[in-house]
């Protein structure tokens, strides 16, 4: 047993390859994000009206900003579903909780505080309510969601996966309902009910510094409170939040916690027999995922400048899941691509294609109403033909290549 075969001069260790792979994708992510910003800041304003119209129709920056919200949430869901292998059908709950946290501490909503509580906020002075700098709100909302994740998870994570899926689905339905009906809880208005919370405080990139900085003929907002049309500044900020979520996902994958999640995904019983505390590790996955859901909720609230409970419906959870599956469960980069593709398709691609189609052929088909049909079809097709997603994580890809190889070997054997 101690006889060793001569050391094979192998290629680089897997960890090195993985690091290279990560670096390559991270560079692409940063490169595309910056190119996008340069494009919309400097190039688009100088284009002729024809190309401008085309971009406004097919690639408006507003829809890209919204897609970034989806990216943040999908990356969070990927921690739960892709890393730890726990099916969560109610992720919208965290999106909603994050949104309402922003609504509570970034608006005049708590007008009981008459003189207003301000902290590094870009909101106009002397208003009632709580006004906290939005970067801090992100952290607060993330923590609130992580905490909610633990509260929701503690009783449910003991369940076997199918039941877990059902219970999370329930929570995904209940929590938006609570917000919708939270107008009068023991005489206290928590959520403004169906009227929602609007407007939110304007946000700024930084709480101090010059209002704007001129580069060429573009004005880059620094401490200027951003209005609804300052989409390029918001784009830059949302990209940073997304980058943070990605960064956390990648880092956490590497350490002991990431390994524990993988082990649980692979074989829960064996993991527990190797000293991995199941509940604690699953709760950690839930909490980290929820934290990112909270970030997404705040970004969404800022993007819309409002929070409405009726936007947080079941379909959000399903679309998020579709994004994770389409992109490649467990692979952050794949999930980002999946999220961008589906979000763009849903908000812009399909409606735009529909109106082009209708005007071309004189028809009157309501294309956007087919979006769930199309999502469903995509999911079914993926399950049939490419279960591992568009960009599977290296591990899963390995299985596939291997399956092909062993098929081939079987054939060889048959012929021999």
């Amino acid at each position: 047993m101690s006889v060793r075969a001569p050391e094979v001069v192998s290629s680089k260790p897997k960890s090195d390859l993985a690091a290279n792979h990560t670096r390559k994708w991270a560079l692409w992510f940063a490169g595309i994000a910056i190119a996008g910003w340069l494009f919309y800041t400097f190039l688009v304003p100088n284009l002729g009206s024809g190309p401008q119209l085309f971009i406004r129709q097919w690639m408006p920056l507003g829809s890209i900003n919204e897609a970034l919200v989806w990216v943040i949430c999908a990356v969070g869901l990927n921690i739960v579903v892709g890393y730890a292998g726990l099916l969560d059908l109610g992720f919208v709950a965290f999106w909603a909780i994050g949104g309402y946290t922003a609504g509570w501490i970034m608006s005049t909503f708590f007008n009981q505080i008459e003189n207003g509580f301000y902290f590094l906020s870009a909101a106009p002075p002397n208003q009632p309510g709580i006004h906290i700098n939005w970067w801090i709100v992100l952290i607060v909302a993330g923590c609130v969601c992580a905490f909610s994740g633990i509260i929701i998870g503690a009783p449910t994570l003991r369940l076997k996966s199918d039941y877990l899926a059902l219970v999370t689905l329930g929570f995904g339905e209940i929590i938006p309902q609570v917000f919708l009906n939270g107008e009068n809880i023991a005489g206290f208005n928590f959520t403004n009910g169906a009227k929602g919370i609007a407007p939110l405080d304007p946000v700024a990139a930084l709480p101090f510094g010059p209002a704007t900085v001129a580069i060429g003929n573009a004005q880059i907002a620094i401490s200027k409170p951003l209005g609804p049309f300052d989409v390029t500044a918001k784009y830059a900020m949302f990209v940073l939040v997304a980058a943070f979520a990605v960064f956390v996902s990648l880092r956490i994958r590497e350490g002991r916690l990431g390994r524990a999640w993988l082990a649980i995904r692979e074989d829960e019983l064996a993991a527990s027999m190797m000293g991995v505390p199941l509940m604690q590790s699953k709760l950690a996955a839930y909490a980290v995922g929820a934290f990112m859901g909270g970030l997404g909720g705040v970004v969404y609230a800022v993007h819309n400048n409002s929070v409405f409970a009726d936007r947080f419906n079941f379909s959000i959870s399903i679309i998020l899941l579709a994004m994770v599956v389409l992109g490649g469960m467990g692979n952050v980069w794949g999930v980002i691509v999946g999220a961008l593709l589906l979000a763009w398709f849903n908000s812009t691609g399909l409606p735009q294609f529909g109106s082009s189609f209708n005007s071309q052929f004189g028809t009157d088909i309501n294309f956007p109403s087919f979006n769930y049909l199309i999502f469903g079809a995509i999911l079914v097709l993926m399950m049939l033909f490419r279960r591992e997603g568009l960009f599977p994580e290296t591990r899963t890809r390995q299985v596939l290549q291997e399956a092909e190889r062993s098929d081939a070997e079987e054939l060889d054997g048959g012929e021999a």
Binding site: M1, R251, G255, R256, L262, M274, V399
Partner: protein
């Protein structure tokens, strides 16, 4: 060590009057059993005798209907499996249960979870403590893989290893818990006689170099007789005999239990 001298050394693990009931079926009936410190003992018995069930009680997967389990002096009855594992009870599985899509090194590192402390913030921030811990874990994992003789496969996915290497990886993984007691459930299943012979030496090496007590469930009598310092025989959930290899070989009840089964099995085939 002889069987007699084993009685006097202190126990690494003690199971006292263990009973396990699955509905109407009593799978383990009042078994009392000790593993002396630094010894190699075997649990044998015909199929369905309750051996794996007994293992599962020791490792906390099942809570015994009655009885207590002590690891050293510590009562671990009813503790959760991960707690028991971290207290020093490592095991392998009758049907290999590796983390297939993790590399051999990662498999071993999973078992070091309870010996490492980095929290989420330290992992994300990649603090010095976390980096040191990762490096140490990686080195220790490599050490364990070298020890079982599959060091060169550290970066291969567990599912791609050969059957024999997978069995060794299971041992390396269990050893990474730095256990006081190592439970091996049918470790030679699927091995040919030469491999089994090598395995006997391997178990001795594990005991001597890793300073653990080893409990084996084993069907291969030649392995059992050569490796064990003491043997316990279960039949239909009951302990029917206990002693050194020679005692067991000549024990009429054991012969009867085995022959009885073999007879019916033989006629069934």
């Amino acid at each position: 060590m002889t069987a007699a001298s084993l009685e006097t050394t202190k126990a690494a693990l003690t199971a006292d009057n263990i009973m396990v009931r699955f509905g109407g079926l009593v799978a383990v009936k009042g078994v009392t059993f000790t593993i002396p410190d630094q010894s190699i003992v075997s649990l044998i018995g015909p199929n369905g005798a309750g051996k794996t069930t007994f293992f599962n009680v020791l490792t906390g997967l099942y809570r015994p209907t009655t009885g207590t389990v002590k690891l050293g002096e510590l009562d671990i009855t009813g503790q959760s499996p991960h707690k028991i594992a971290s207290l020093g009870l490592g095991r392998t599985f009758q049907n290999i249960r590796l983390f297939g899509l993790m590399t051999a090194a990662e498999n071993v590192m999973v078992a070091m979870h309870s010996h490492t402390t980095s929290n989420i913030l330290q992992i994300v921030g990649r603090t010095r403590h976390q980096r040191r811990e990762e490096k140490d874990s990686r080195e220790f994992a490599q050490e364990m893989l070298d020890f079982v003789g599959i060091g060169r496969h550290a970066d291969e996915y567990a599912r791609n290893l050969s059957y024999g290497d997978q069995r060794r990886l299971e041992v390396a993984r269990a050893l990474a818990l730095r256990p006081q007691v190592l439970l091996l459930d049918e470790p030679t299943a699927g091995m040919n006689p030469q491999e089994s012979a090598v395995f006997v030496d391997f178990v001795h090496r594990v005991r001597d170099e890793q300073k653990v007590s080893v409990l084996l469930i084993e069907h291969d009598m030649s392995v059992v007789m050569r490796v064990s310092e003491r043997i316990t025989v279960l039949d239909q959930g009951e302990k029917i005999a206990e002693g050194g290899p020679d005692d067991i070989r000549n024990n009429p009840r054991v012969v009867e239990a085995y022959l009885g089964r073999t007879g019916t099995e033989g006629s069934a085939r």
